[in-house]
Symmetry: C2
Subunit: 411 residues, 2 copies
C-alpha cells in the first residue's frame, strides 16, 4: 500500500477555521431558530467595487471573441497587473520592480507554498500567536518534530507576543533560516513601527535569515508613520519576501488574487555554499506547479488601482475600520482589555479571568450566539485571548455589541 506523508499525522486535529465552522454548524443544527453572528473567520461582506466588476465583465466579453480570447497567461502574471502593482509600491517610496512581482490566487497559497523553496532542514522562527498556515505547512514538509502538550512543535522557534511585551516579538536566539512576520498582525491587530521593522531587517542581515513578510492587511494602516511594506525599510531587498493580497484590500476573498514580491538580489545558499536567487527558485516553482490566475480576475485586480477603484475601495476599508473602532470602544466600555483594531481589521481581547480561549468561544456561541476565534487556535501564546473580526455589516456589529453588553455590563 502506498506510503503516505507521515508528517501530516503530526498536525493537530483540524485546521483552526474548519474546526470553528464545525462547532458553529453543530450548534446551529441544534438551535435552528437562533441567529448566529459570525465574527470568527476574517471574511469580508461588502460587495465587490463597481470598477472591479466593470473590468471583469469586460474581460469576460473579450474571452468571447476570437481576437480577445486569452489562453494560458504568463506564469508570473500579466504585465498590466504587475506594472500597476509596482507603480503603487513606488508611489509609497518602496523600490519594487514589476519583474519582481508574482501574481497568485491568494496569500494563503503563497505563504503556504513558499517554504518549498527552502531546505527541509531550514530552521524556522515565527511569532506566537501566528496565522496557522505558516506553522502547518512547515509541519507537513517535515521541518518539525512532534507537538508538545502546550502546542509547540519541536524545531520551531516561537517568538511570543502578548500584552506584557506590547505584542512586540523578541528577536530570535537561533539565527533561523526563515522568519515569518505579519503586520498589521493577524490575529492581534497590532502593527510594527518603522523602528521595530528596521531592527528586524538589521537582524536578518546579521543572522542571514530570510524574512517572510505578510502584509495582507496593509491597506488598513491609517497612521502614516507605520510602514505598509517591508521594502520601505533600507536593506530589506536583500533579506525579505513580501506577501500581499486583494482579499481584504478589495473584498477578493471569493474572487481570489494576491501577489508576492521577491527582489532580484535576494539569495539563499545551496549545499555547496553556492548562492542561489530565490526569485529564480520561486519562478521555477510557479512555472512547474501553477498556471496563472484567471484572466478576468487579473483585470479585476488591475482595476483596484484605477482612480475609481481606489476611491471605492477606500470607502469600503473605512467602513470596516469604523466597525473596528466601534468594537474596540464598545468592548473597552464593557471592561475588556482590548488590543489592535486601529490600523487593522482585527480586535484582540483578553478573555475573562479563569476562562480559556476555547471556553470563551463556546461561552459566546452558547450564550449570545456570537462567533469569534479562540486565541489558542493561533498558538500557545494566544491562550487567554480572543479575536473578533471587523469584517461585518454595521448592524451586525451593533447587534453583537448589544448582546455582549447584556452579558458583560459593568454592575
Amino acid at each position: 500500500m502506498a506510503r503516505i506523508n507521515p508528517n501530516y499525522s503530526k498536525l493537530k486535529a483540524g485546521y483552526l477555521f474548519p474546526e470553528i465552522s464545525r462547532r458553529v454548524r453543530v450548534y446551529q443544527s441544534e438551535h435552528p431558530d437562533l441567529k448566529i453572528i459570525r465574527m470568527g473567520i476574517g471574511d469580508v461582506v461588502l460587495p465587490i467595487a463597481e470598477a472591479v466588476r466593470t473590468a471583469m465583465h469586460k474581460a469576460v466579453d473579450e474571452m468571447g471573441t476570437l481576437s480577445g480570447f486569452r489562453g494560458y497567461g504568463p506564469d508570473l502574471g500579466y504585465d498590466f497587473l504587475r506594472e500597476a502593482i509596482a507603480k503603487e509600491y513606488k508611489a509609497r517610496g518602496a523600490h519594487v520592480e514589476a519583474s519582481e512581482i508574482f501574481v497568485s490566487d491568494g496569500s494563503k497559497c503563497d505563504t503556504g507554498n513558499i517554504q518549498e523553496i527552502f531546505a527541509t532542514n531550514a530552521s524556522i522562527a515565527l511569532t506566537d500567536p501566528v496565522y496557522p498556515v505558516y506553522v502547518d505547512t512547515n509541519v507537513m514538509a517535515g521541518r518539525t518534530g512532534e507537538i508538545d502538550a502546550e502546542g509547540r512543535y519541536a524545531g520551531i522557534e516561537y517568538l511570543p507576543m502578548h500584552a506584557d511585551n506590547g505584542f512586540v516579538p523578541p528577536l530570535p536566539k537561533t539565527n533561523p533560516d526563515v522568519i515569518y512576520l505579519c503586520s498589521p498582525n493577524n490575529p492581534t491587530g497590532t502593527v510594527m513601527t518603522r523602528k521595530e521593522l528596521t531592527a528586524w531587517v538589521d537582524y536578518a542581515h546579521k543572522s542571514g535569515s530570510v524574512i517572510l513578510y505578510d502584509s495582507a492587511y496593509e491597506a488598513y494602516i491609517q497612521d502614516p508613520s507605520i510602514p505598509r511594506s517591508i521594502f520601505e525599510i533600507p536593506g530589506a531587498r536583500k533579506v525579505a519576501i513580501e506577501f500581499r493580497s486583494f482579499s481584504k484590500t478589495a473584498g477578493f476573498t471569493g474572487v481570489r488574487c494576491g501577489y508576492t514580491v521577491i527582489p532580484l538580489e535576494l539569495e539563499g545558499t545551496g549545499l555547496n555554499g553556492n548562492k542561489v536567487s530565490l526569485h529564480a527558485l520561486w519562478s521555477r516553482r510557479h512555472a512547474t506547479k501553477f498556471n496563472g490566475v484567471s484572466y478576468p480576475v487579473q483585470r479585476g485586480a488591475e482595476a483596484v488601482f484605477s482612480a475609481d477603484g481606489k476611491e471605492q475601495i477606500r470607502s469600503t476599508i473605512g467602513y470596516y475600520l469604523e466597525n473596528a473602532r466601534l468594537l474596540r470602544e464598545g468592548l473597552l466600555a464593557l471592561g475588556f482589555e482590548v488590543f489592535g483594531g486601529e490600523n487593522a481589521p482585527y480586535i484582540w481581547l483578553k478573555t475573562p479571568k479563569g476562562v480559556d480561549s476555547w471556553g470563551f468561544f463556546d461561552y459566546l456561541l452558547n450564550e449570545v450566539q456570537v462567533v469569534g476565534t479562540p486565541g489558542a487556535g493561533f498558538g500557545p501564546s494566544g491562550e487567554g485571548y480572543f479575536r473578533l473580526s471587523a469584517f461585518a455589516l454595521r448592524e451586525t456589529v451593533h447587534e453583537a455589541l448589544a448582546r455582549l453588553a447584556a452579558k458583560f455590563h459593568k454592575s
Copy 2:
C-alpha cells in the same frame, strides 16, 4: 544565509514550455517580419462558450450586491459545481460522489501538488514520454537522485512508450507506491483501451500502488469503447485518483478550473502500517494551502454542464478534432509516421531519419516557422518524436500543412 531546497538544482535547465517560448522569442526578434505558427504549447484558441460567459457575468453581478456577495468559498469547491460534475460521472457509468470531488484552479496544479501527500521515500513510476510536471515535482520534493546522461532521474521507474510497443507502457517491475498514467495521452495522443486500463487497475490491487490518472483530455475521446474515466473500471475506487480539467474541455486555459476525484475508500499507509484516507490527507492539504476557486469561475464551470454549455462545447471540441484529422492525414500523406490525433488533440510524429527532436524543432522554426514540441522534452523515450497540437484555427492548420508540404513533399 538561508538554506534553499537543494533538489531544485537537479532539475534540467528550464521547464520545457518556457524553453520553447524562449527560443521562439529569440527567433521572432531576429526575424520580426516572419509569421510564426505556434503549435507547440497545447493552448486553446477558440472563444469561451456563451453559456459560460453568461454564467460568469451573472456571478460577477451577484458579487456586486449585498445579498449575492460571496466571500471565501468552501475549500473543496461549491456544491453546485461538485454535484454537476458527479452527475456527469454517473451518467457515464462511473461511481463518483460529489463529496469525492475537489475543485481546483487546474490540473497542472493538482497533478503537481498531489505528490505532497505521499512519503518522501515513496517510489514513483511513470510513462516515458510524460507530462514533465509529474517528474519535476517529484524531483523538487527530493524523491529522486540526479539525472543521467540520457535524461532519467535515479529512483524513478520509467515505463517506455514507443511505436514498437504501440505506445502501451509495460507494467512496472518495482511495485511502486505511485504510478502516473495519462489517457488520452499527453504527449503521444494515444489512448488506453478498457482492457489495458483494467490490467493497470488489477496490477495496482496486487502491487498496492496508487494510480494517479490524468484524464484532462477525456472530452476528446470519440470511440465509445474507450473509457473516459478510470472509475469506469471495476475496482478502481480502491487504487486510483483522477485529475480532470476544464482547460481543454471548455477552453479554460485562461479562466482556470479543474478538479480531482479521490474516492472515500482509497487508502495509503502510515509509518506504523496504519491505514490513512487519501481523501482526508488531500482535504487537509487543500484546507491549509488553497483557498478555493474564484466564484465567477466556478459558476462558469457549472455552465459547462448545462444543455447550452454542452452543445457549445461539443462544437468546439469537434472543431479541434477536425484539425487533428487534417494534421494527421496531411502528415501521413507527406510520408511521416504519425500517431495519436484520433481521440486526442495531439499528433505525435516520428522525426525524419537522422534528425533528433530538438534538431527538428529548430529546423521547423527556422525553415517554415512552425513551432511544435520536441519529443525529448517529455523524456528520453520521446527522442525521435515530435508533438503538434490541434489547438489552432483552421486556417492556421492549413497554412502549417502547406508550409510543411513545401519542404517535405514526396518527390
